[in-house]
């Protein structure tokens, strides 16, 4: 079964139960306690020991069909997570084979294999996977691989009180997302759209196994607008290298031949 998440940001209430459930279940350490002055977001970003992150956006823009006492204002919240891309930059970059595709179509880092080269960190177009200085290895969301072995829902989805995070079979999730989108459009929330739901809308990643329903541009949520797995464009770089390598071989031979006695 290809499993994943559908995160409907319109019903997220920013309770961070997903962050807490993820930390508790996976026995992740805390990141220290700090105040970022970024609305209610004191988590700041996904990282090696933060596999769910709730973003808080305070906009001076009203949502369509939404009445508030604050005038032109709306508050967007989104629980961000590893996207488990169909074509995963981290997996294709990993030189050790530590990052694998599981039977659930999720992307999993084997901590006993990873040697901490850090290449996956640069290859992720979403800035998800990261290396902890004191641990030395790369870490990210496992889609609760251990829970899936026991037919349990991942901790974050299980803890979500509003079903903003929905876990399940990807085909079913996509259908559900389209129905939800139609309902929102019917209600006049024309700005609602699906981010990364399939390969057609996001060819750079082949679609995301953890996709989102958003109501503003991706940049607002710190998501890249047109993410591309770097390896999709590597052929051009290899080609340029091959041409330059032929050049250096020619120059080396030329330098040797030109130096023969009798020549200036």
């Amino acid at each position: 079964m290809a499993a994943g998440f559908f995160t409907d940001t319109t019903v997220c209430i920013g309770c961070k139960a997903c962050e807490v459930a993820c930390k508790e279940w996976n026995q992740l350490p805390d990141d220290g306690f700090l105040f970022t002055a970024m609305s209610y977001d004191n988590t700041a970003a996904l990282g090696a020991s933060t596999w769910r992150h709730v973003a808080f956006v305070e906009r001076p823009v009203a949502l369509s069909e939404q009445l508030t006492g604050l005038g032109q204002f709306s508050w967007l919240m989104m629980s961000d997570v590893c996207k488990h891309c169909r074509r995963a930059g981290c997996l294709e970059a990993c030189p050790t084979g530590a990052i694998i595709r599981t039977e659930h179509d999720s992307v999993y880092v084997q901590p006993d294999v990873c040697n901490g080269c850090g290449y996956c960190v640069t290859a992720c177009p979403f800035g998800v996977i990261d290396r902890r200085e004191d641990d030395g290895r790369a870490w990210k969301c496992t889609l609760c691989y251990d829970r899936l072995q026991g037919d349990l829902t991942p901790a974050c989805a299980k803890a979500c009180p509003t079903d903003s995070i929905q876990f399940g079979d990807l085909d079913e999730l996509r259908q559900r997302a389209r129905r939800r989108l139609a309902v929102l459009h019917d209600r006049g929330v024309r700005e609602a759209w699906l981010y990364g739901a399939d390969a057609a809308s996001q060819p750079g990643t082949g679609g995301l196994n953890a996709f989102f329903l958003l109501v503003d541009r991706p940049e607002v949520y710190n998501l890249p607008p047109e993410p591309v797995v770097p390896t999709q464009r590597a052929a051009g770089a290899w080609g340029a290298m091959a041409a330059a390598a032929l050049g250096i071989a020619a120059v080396a031979l030329g330098a040797v031949l030109a130096s023969r006695p009798g020549r200036p």
């Binding site: 996976n26 026995q27 992740l28 350490p29 805390d30 990141d31 220290g32 700090l34 970024m38 970003a45 990282g47 973003a55 294709e92 970059a93 990993c94 030189p95 050790t96 084979g97 901590p111 294999v113 990873c114 040697n115 901490g116 080269c117 850090g118 290449y119 960190v121 640069t122 290859a123 992720c124 177009p125 800035g127 998800v128 641990d135 290895r137 790369a138 870490w139 251990d146 541009r217 949520y221 890249p224 047109e226 770097p230 390896t231 590597a234 770089a237 080609g239 340029a240 290298m241 330059a244 390598a245 050049g247 250096i248 120059v251 080396a252 031979l253 330098a255 040797v256 130096s259 006695p261």
Partner: protein, 342 residues
């Protein structure tokens, strides 16, 4: 927040089992993450799109100084092995000393490269996992195999260079193999950085290989200039190889600069800050080294100057590209503008 919370997990091992997916994550300190390190460069100017509190959208590369130093060492040994192969094929007995020197540069450079790369790993004791699989989609995997092969062959070729008969033939065969692997070794690191999500590296992925390979030629010639050979023919070969390399390197630098003008934000690290200064320094040093190389009168002192300036220039170039990439990854607008094509 005391006792069992010491590792930030708040699990008392007397009462609870540490079996979670991240239970093995090693924690030395649960100090606050450095979220302020790269926050808020500027407020959006009119007409600029939104960001999320100016937070980076990408993770900054975690590599340390030993990686750009390796880019230089690997490039230098790759170019030297190529030159050694050419001298072996077409140089005759007169250039045998150069062939031998090239092989030793490859062998010693290979050992140094391995040390530098292992030093950068988060888990150095697992360095051998690099050769656990071969993954063609990963330039780092391809490069690891190329480096391992080139160093081994260069070492064998160096040791067998002064033997006779069959052993010498085997050494020559290894030398040719090392020379062939030297070609990708001189340039794959450019493909490696181009194959990332970092906006500046991604944008320049088609010109960086030429820049790195040309700089590898100049770097190898500069390295030989530091301990010049006494034979005039050997000097001529190294000089021609280095001069062409440095000219092409300067042209490739201009090509890279032109390429990043497409999107203002993407090219900024090459013009500003530490990386911009390093980039300018690399250019100036290479020009100076080229000048010393093509001086009509080649004195011992001129060769030494060319060698020192060229080595400094090649190193500065790798550090410039490295730090420019780091700066680029911290700028969310570089990613957004690049993907929006503005």
């Amino acid at each position: 927040m005391s006792g069992s919370g010491g590792d930030g997990r708040y699990v008392d091992p007397e009462l609870g089992l540490l079996l979670g997916e991240a239970a093995s994550q090693r924690i030395e300190a649960t100090s606050a993450r450095e979220v302020w390190r790269d926050v808020a460069t500027s407020l959006p100017a009119p007409g600029e799109g939104p960001t999320y509190y100016d937070r980076p959208v990408l993770k900054e590369p975690v590599w340390i100084w030993s990686v750009p130093v390796y880019f230089w060492v690997g490039g230098t040994m790759g170019a030297a092995l190529t030159l050694g192969g050419a001298a072996q094929l077409a140089g005759g007995p007169e250039l045998r000393p150069l062939v031998r020197r090239c092989r030793w540069v490859g062998a010693v450079g290979g050992a140094a490269s391995a040390a530098l790369l292992v030093h950068d790993l988060g888990r150095p004791e697992r360095f051998h996992h690099m050769l656990r699989v071969f993954r063609p989609t990963s330039p780092m995997s391809v490069g690891s195999w190329v480096l391992a092969g080139a160093s081994t062959l260069a070492g064998a070729a160096a040791l067998l260079a002064s033997r006779r008969g069959l052993l010498r033939g085997a050494g020559d065969l290894a030398g040719l193999g090392a020379a062939l692997l030297g070609l990708p070794l001189a340039g794959y690191t450019a493909v490696l950085v181009g194959n990332t999500a970092v906006p500046l590296w991604l944008e320049t992925r088609r010109t960086l290989p030429l820049l790195f390979i040309a700089s590898a030629m100049g770097g190898a010639a500069s390295f030989f200039d530091l301990a010049p050979a006494s034979r005039p023919r050997e000097k001529r070969v190294v000089r021609a190889f280095g001069a062409v390399g440095k000219v092409v390197e300067l042209a490739a630098m201009v090509a890279v600069e032109r390429q990043v003008t497409r999107i203002e934000r993407v090219g900024r690290p090459l013009r500003e800050g530490v990386s911009g200064a390093l980039w300018s320094a690399a250019k100036a040093l290479t020009v100076a080294s080229l000048g010393a190389t093509i001086l009509p009168r080649r004195t011992r002192r001129a060769a030494l100057a060319a060698g020192l300036l060229g080595t400094a220039g090649a190193l500065a170039l790798r550090f410039a590209v490295f730090h420019a990439g780091k700066a680029s990854s911290r700028d969310p607008r570089a990613t957004f503008d690049q993907q929006r094509g503005r």
